[in-house]
Symmetry: C2
């Protein structure tokens, strides 16, 4: 027989998935805007941001409600705490996509430099897979999948380092391109942060399922 | 007569204050390291980071314990949720000071440029006051003080914009200084983020005390 709290916990998971879908959409849209040089697509991100912000408040309220009504303990409590944290990370991811839209619009107003766009596109693809994968691991309580997300973060960090190095070398050689190079560096940094937030989610999944805290160098497995 | 939960909530507040003290110390140390060009001081930040990470896990566990044992509702529940969020923000602030130590060490290895250090020092001072003020408003449940923190964030954002502009102008004129300028830009960005986290804390205080959600453009007062 299903407990009342099980239905509420399933609802929380659905809300998180919906919110994650909005974050994925926002990331895909800013990336497409950057690659296709489309200012309108950048502007459209603010509509998605509103949805994410509404999700953010809705999830917090739903968690408060379950905590107050059910007084959950053990695994149920860990799940709700994880939802609160994941909610926070998803909202920050939304902020990062908005930051990308600002830097991206600045970038479109400048003399084009292209060298780093390929790596930025790769970073965005990895970040998108990390968002999707971390939430999938959350909904299915799949610790093995969550551990894979932690490894993907290394790829995105390496690409960020490459964009930084290449852009700075270009800026040294072409002083006219200092601003455009800076825009791309900031975008790479935003994408790296997006990956960090997905990593946080994966760590929360491991905690929710196993009760093990793998943050701050705690070892899993 | 005091309820058992009141003692536990007071303990949570004390833990947050202790953690906030560690964050303030870390910020002061990286700033002093930068201004006095002292690599050892940058390295010493990792000892403080360990304390902050321990605080982070300890506070989460204490919140889980109170939630599981007391099944708190209404204002007590809001306070605990706020502690969970503040805990998160303080930990991220600690990360920002560590990021500053990395960029700062890179910066010390380069030909010195000084132009932006004055503004960076001002940013650090404001960020430090924001950390202290936001936690003070939390412990005292002082909504008026929390609102003042929200205004201080504008000052720090303006200074960040100035550092960005000045550093980029310098980088355009002196291509040898592209890396050093970038280090200072990244440090300014880390300080801006520190201010953002203090703003989050102030918003959490307003929520904990009044039950009003002022995030995402919600109006207070």
């Amino acid at each position: 027989m299903e407990r009342a709290i099980d239905i509420q916990l399933e609802d929380l998971k659905k809300m998180i998935l919906l919110m994650g879908g909005h974050v994925e959409k926002s990331l895909a849209q800013v990336t497409a805007a950057l690659l296709s040089r489309d200012v309108d697509m950048f502007n459209g991100v603010h509509d998605i941001e509103k949805l994410i912000n509404e999700d953010h408040i809705r999830v917090d309220n739903a968690c408060m409600h379950v905590l107050a009504k059910q007084g959950p303990v053990a695994k149920d409590l860990r799940l709700i705490i994880s939802v609160l944290k994941i909610n926070n990370d998803l909202e920050r991811m939304g902020d990062q996509t908005v930051n990308i839209s600002y830097s991206g619009k600045d970038y479109l107003g400048r003399k084009p430099i292209q060298q780093q766009l390929n790596d930025i596109q790769k970073m965005s693809e990895i970040a998108g897979r990390m968002v999707k994968g971390s939430l999938d691991s959350f909904v299915r309580g799949d610790v093995e999948q969550a551990k894979k997300i932690l490894l993907m973060d290394d790829e995105i960090d390496a690409l960020k380092g490459k964009v930084f190095q290449d852009a700075m070398a270009h800026m040294k050689a072409h002083s006219d391109d200092v601003e455009a190079g800076m825009d791309l560096i900031l975008i790479a940094r935003n994408l790296e942060r997006l990956g960090d937030h997905a990593t946080n989610i994966a760590e929360d999944v491991i905690f929710a399922v196993t009760g093990k805290d793998v943050r701050h160098g705690g070892k899993f497995g």
